[in-house]
Symmetry: D2
C-alpha cells in the first residue's frame, strides 16, 4: 500500500525542512508539509512565549497548555491524511519515544514512513549560527535527545549528505 | 454552547488577518488561527504556481488539484476543532456560497460563528498598495465576490473601524 | 530644485512603512526606501539584542555601540542620495530633535522634505496588536516622544487617513 | 592596516549569506552585512520586477534603471565604511570582472578583503531546491559566471566545508 504520511524527526538545524522541500520536488504527487513551526505560527503571540519556553542553553520546555493544542493539531493532521492528502510531517520529538507514541496513536491505520534525520551535533550547531534565526544552543541540545527510543523505517544523515540526496533515499522507500 | 470555530470571510486586504490576531489577544483562551495562506505555504513550490493561478487583473483561478488538497485541509481543521482546539479560520470564499457550503459540511455539529469582513473596495485596494506584498488587483476583484450568497451571524467593516474594535465586537458574540 | 530625500518620522505602528511603499507607487521615478529596520537587519544577531534594548514597557534603549554604527549608516544614506538615488527614509526619532540634528548634519545641502507621521497613540497601540510582530507597548511609548522638538515641512495623520492618501499629499509637495 | 570591508562574491545558493552571518559571530567587532538583496528590498515593488528580470532558465538580466540605483548604492556602502562601519558585502558579480571594477572604484583606498565563495554547480542547484525560495536555475547559471575574471585574496568552497569553517578561514585573514 502506498505511503500516506512521511514523518521526519530530527533536532533543530538537522536539515529536516530542506529535506521536506526536496521531497515535495522529487515525489510525483503533491505532498503537503506541516510541522511544529506551522502550529507555533498559528498560536497567539502571547502563547508562543508562554506555552513554549526557551531555556538559556537552548533547551525547550513545553507547558501543559501547549500539549493540549498539540494533541488537537496531531488529530487534525491525521484527519487530513485520512481525507486523502499526502503529508510530510516535519517534527522534533522533544519527548523522544513518548512523542512518537502520540503520533502513532493518532495516525492509526495510516501507512506511515518513519524517518530519522540525523546530523552531527557540532555540525548542526555550526549551521544554526549560519542560519542566524534560531536561539543558539537548540541544535546541540536536541541532536541526540529527539531520537531517544524512537523507532524508524529509515535514517538519513545530513552531516555529509545533501538534503536532495537524503530526499531521494526517502522517496525510493515511500513509493 | 461555547463557540468552537470562528470563520472570518473577506476579500484580500480586507483586514481579516489583523482581526484574527486581535481576536487571539482579546479572547480569554488560546485560539489557533489557520487560513488559506497556511495551506498555500504547505504546498510544493511548483503547485503554488500551478494549483493557484493569478490572472493579470489579480483574479485567482483555482485548479482541480488544489480543490482536492483544500478539501482534505478543511477536514483536518474540523477534526482539530472536534479534538478541542478553538480555531479562527481566516478565509476568502472565492466561490461564495459554494465555498461556505464546503466548510458547513465539514464543520458539521461544531458551534461556528460566521463573520463577514467587509471593506470598501477602493480602500482595500489602497491598503494592498501600502502592504506591497500582494499582487495588485486582488483586493478590488475579491471585495464583493467572496460575499456572494454567503450567510453570516455577524458582519464587520474595516473601512472606518480598527481591527481591534472589530475583534471586540466578534468576541462579544463568541463567548 | 527637486526633492532628493523624503524623511518620514513617526512612532512604531504609526504607518510610516505603508506610506513609504505608497510613495514608491505614486512617485514617477524609482525611490529607494531605507529605515532603521534595514540597519537592524544588517547588524549581528547578538548586537541586535545588546545594541538595542527593549524595556518591558516597550521603550527602546539605545547603547553607544549602536550609535556609532547608526552614524556611519546615516553618512552612507546621505552619500547614496548625493550619488543620485532618490531616497525615502523611514525613521523613528527616539531622540527627538537630537535625532533630527544627526540627519540634518549628514544630509547637508541635499534637498530634503521633512514629514511628520502622526497617529493617535491608542489607535497605534491597537494596530500594533493587529500586526502581532512588534513588542507590545512600543506604539504607545513612541507616539509623542519621536516628535518632540522636531521641525517638519508637512505633517500627515494616519488615524483617519489611509496611507495612500497620506502618500499623495506628500508626493504633491515632493515634486 | 585592519580590514574595513570584506567582499563575498559567489553565485546564488553558494552559501554567501550563511558565511556572512558566521563572520558576524566570529569576528570580535560588530560588522554590518549588506548585499544585493538589501538593495532589491529597498526598491519599489514594480522596479523589482522591471529592473531585474529573471529569464526562464534562471539567468538574471539587469536593466539600465537598476544599474544607476546600484551605482548609488555602492557609493553609499563605501561611505559607510569610510565613516567607520566595518562591512561585509554579500554579492553576486553577474558581470564578473566588470562588477568587481565598479566596487574597486567606489571602495578606493579602503582596506578590502576579496573573497570568492565557490560551490559545485550541481550541489548549489540541489541546495536551491532545499531552500525552496529561489527561482530554479539561478544556482546553476551563476556558479561559474560570477567568478569570470574576478581577482581574490582568498577563496573558500562550501561544497564540502561548512559555512562556519569558511568564515573562520576568512576571519583569520581579516584581522
Amino acid at each position: 500500500m502506498a505511503t500516506q504520511v512521511i514523518v521526519l524527526n530530527g533536532g533543530s538545524s538537522s536539515g529536516k525542512s530542506g529535506i521536506a522541500r526536496c521531497l515535495q520536488a522529487v515525489l510525483p504527487d503533491p505532498w503537503l508539509v506541516f510541522g511544529v513551526d506551522t502550529l507555533i505560527q498559528a498560536m497567539p503571540v502571547a502563547s508562543r512565549l508562554s506555552g513554549i519556553e526557551f531555556a538559556p542553553d537552548g533547551a525547550v520546555l513545553v507547558r501543559p497548555e501547549f500539549r493540549a493544542l498539540e494533541a488537537a493539531w496531531i488529530e487534525g493532521i491525521a484527519a487530513m491524511a485520512r481525507a486523502g492528502a499526502r503529508i510530510v510531517v516535519d517534527e522534533a520529538f522533544l519527548g523522544g519515544a513518548a512523542s512518537q507514541q502520540r503520533w502513532l496513536t493518532a495516525l492509526g491505520a495510516l501507512q506511515v514512513l518513519w524517518v530519522g534525520v540525523r546530523c552531527d551535533g557540532a555540525v548542526a550547531a555550526a549551521r544554526e549560527i549560519a542560519r542566524g534565526d534560531r536561539i543558539t544552543g537548540m541544535a546541540a541540545s536536541q541532536a541526540e535527545l529527539v531520537h531517544q527510543g524512537v523507532r524508524y523505517d529509515l535514517q538519513v544523515d545530513t552531516t555529509h549528505t545533501e538534503a536532495l540526496d537524503c530526499a531521494r533515499m526517502i522517496a525510493a522507500r515511500a513509493q
